[in-house]
Amino acid sequence: MTELGIPIPHAPGFIANKTPRIVTSRFDYEDSFTIERYEETGGYQGLRTALSKTPEAVHGEVRDASLLGRGGAGFPAGVKWGFCPPGVWPRYLVVNGDESEPGTYKDRLLMELDPHQLIEGCLIACYAIGLSQCFLYVRGEMAVAQERIAQALNEAYAAGYIGKNILGTELSVDIVLHWGAGAYVVGEETALIESLEGNRGMPRLKPPYFPASIGLYGQPTIVNNVETLSNLPWILSNGSEAFKAIGTETSPGTRMVAVSGHVKRPGVYEIVNGTTTFRDLIYGETMCGGIRNDAALKAFVPGGGSAPWFTADQLDLPFEASQVGPEGSMLGSGAIMVMDETTDIPAAALTLTKFYAHESCGKCVPCREGGTWLEQIMRRVVNGSGTKRDLDLLIEVGETICPGDFPHASNKEKGLSAVPFPYKMTTICFVGPSAFAPVHSALTLFREEFEAKVAGNSDRNYVEVTINA
C-alpha cells in the first residue's frame, strides 16, 4: 500500500490518502490500465451484478445512491437518467471526457489509469436505461488517454465485455471512441453533441429541450462525466447503502479534487464528499501541507476557473454544494487554485479572463464581444496603462453578460456580505459569465490592488456621452 500523502510515481500528480478510495483504488498498480489487473481487482463484477438485476432495479440503485454529477453542475445522475421520455428510441450515451476547465485534472487520470472502470460504468448506464450506443468523447489534446482507452476497448471487445450479447446476455452495446479537437466550450453538453454530429461546437439553447429528451441526432441522450460513470462499478458491486455511508446525505461518496498553485504539495486527491473542508485540503498534513514557504493565503478559486473566488474567511466550508452556493461560489469540477500573499491579483485574474475570451465560441454576442473587451481592459490595467474609469468599465461590460448582483464571497475585513451563487446570464452557456467571474472576484475582494495599478493615470481622454431621447 502506498504511504499516505506521497505521490505515486506512475500516476502523475495523484497523491494517495487514507480516505476511502472508490474511483482511484487501482492507481497504486503500475499496470492499473490493463484488463488483467482490472479483472484481478474485482473488475467487471459491477456489470455482472447489474446484469443479474432488471434494468429498472439498476436505475433504482443509482438513483438511491444520489450520485451527484462530477462534471460541474452537480446534478444527480440517477435523476438525469429518468428524464428520457418514455417510448422514444433509440437513446444514446455520450461520455464527456473533454476535461478542460482551468485547474481541473481528474478525468484525464481516470482515463489514463483506469479506463476499464470507465468502460464498465458506461455499460452499466446503457443497461439501466436502454442506451443502444455509447460515444466516448475524449479531449483532443490527450494523446495518452486516447491510447489507453483504445487499448482498453480493444481488450474488452475481445473478452466479450462490449459488443454483441455481452457476457452471454441480451445486452448488446457498441462503445465508440471519439477524439475531440481542441475547444473548451465542447465540455458543455449540448456543444458536445453538436461536435459529435460533426459541427462547430456551439451550445444549443436550453430549455426547452435538454439532451435527455432531444440530444444526439434529435434522440434522447444522456451526457455523463467520466468521474460520474467511473463511480458506477463500485456502486453496483457494493450497493447504494455502502456508497451513502461515505460522505453526507446530500453529497455522498468521494470526489476527486485537484489542488494547484501556491501550495507545498499540489496534487490530485480523492476526498470524502460533503465533510472535507477547504482547510483540510490546503493545510492537511497528508494533503497539500500548507502554503509554500509558509506564506499567508491570499485567495483561492474553489471550483475551477469559472467559480467566484474565496479567501481565508471561507476555508472552513466543506465540500457541500448547499453550503458553498449561499457563500457565493460553487464546487464546480473539483479544481482548487491557491494564491499566496505574493500573488499579483489583477495579473492572476487576467490569466483566467483571457482563457474564456479565447475559448468563446462566438454564438452569443455578450460573451464574444464582452469577453474580448474584458480581456483588453484587464490587459491595460495589468500593464499599468489603465485608468480609474477602466475599473468601472470592467463592471459595466460584465453586467451586459451577467445583469444584476454577481455572486461573491463574504469578507469580514471589508464588511462584505455574500451574494449567493448562481448568477443571471444573457448567454446560452457559462463561458460568458466565467470570463467575468475572476474579474469581479478580484475587483470586489482586492480593489486596492487595481487602484494601485491605475494610480496617477489621467481619465481626461474619456468623454461622457449622454443620448437625449
Binding site: 502523475p12 500528480g13 434494468p55 428510441w89 476535461e99 478542460s100 482551468p102 485547474g103 485534472y105 443502444s132 479531449r139 483532443g140 489534446e141 490527450m142 494523446a143 486516447q146 491510447e147 483504445a150 480493444n154 471487445y157 475481445a158 466479450g160 462490449i162 459488443g163 454483441k164 446476455t169 441480451e170 445486452l171 448488446s172 457498441d174 465508440v176 471512441l177 471519439h178 477524439w179 475531440g180 479537437a181 481542441g182 475547444a183 473548451y184 454530429e197 460533426g198 459541427n199 462547430r200 461546437g201 441526432y217 485537484a258 494547484s260 498553485g261 501556491h262 499540489p266 478559486v301 476557473g305 479544481a335 487554485m337 494564491m339 492572476a348 490569466t351 482563457f355 479565447h358 475559448e359
Partner: protein, 205 residues
Amino acid sequence: MTFFTEENLELAHEIIGRYPKQRSAMIPLLHLAQEQSGWVTEEAMKQIGVLVGTSSAEVLGTCSFYEMFKRHEVGKYVVNICTTMSCALLGAEELLEHAETRLGIKAGSTTSDGLFTLEGAECQAACTEAPCLQVNYRHQYRVTPSDFDQLIDELADPNNEETPRHGVLAQIRQHIPVERSVGAVHPDLVNVPPVWIEEKKEANS
C-alpha cells in the same frame, strides 16, 4: 480528388461505419487527414466532404472551429506551453519567454528548419504539475528552463523516435471486430427499445 492513401481510405470507411450518421465522422477524419500530411489540406477537406456526404465548405466550417486542426504547414513538433492560471502562478510566462529566446521565434511561429512550432496554449489538465507543456499533445511536467533546453536538444536529434511527428495523435487505434460489433443504425430506422429492455417489459406484463 484522392487525398487519402488506400490504407487510410479503408480506415476512413471503417470509422464512418461506426456512426449512425456519417457526418459524425467529420472530426475523426480530419484527424486522420492531419495524421497523413501533418496539417489539413484543401484536398483533404474536399475528399472528407465527399466521404461524409456534405460540401467541402461545411468541412471547412467544422475544421476552422477547432484549435488542433492546422490549415497551414506547422513544425514537426508543436510545443504548446500552458499559460492559464495554475501554470501562470508558477512561472509559465517566464518559461514561454525562455522558449521564445531558445528557439529564436515568437509564440505562434515555426523555426526556419521546420522542426518546432511554438504556441502559448490554454489549460492542459495537468494543473498540479505546473508549469507544464505539451509536445504534439504529450505532456511534460514541472518544466524548468533547463528542462526545456534539454527537451529541445532531444527532439532536435534526428534519431529521436520517442515523440511521433505532429498529426500523429494516439498511436493505438480502436478496432471493433466485425463478429463482435453490434453495428450503427440510422436513428430513423429504429423505434423500438433495445431487446434487453423489451424483454423485461414482456416479463412484467
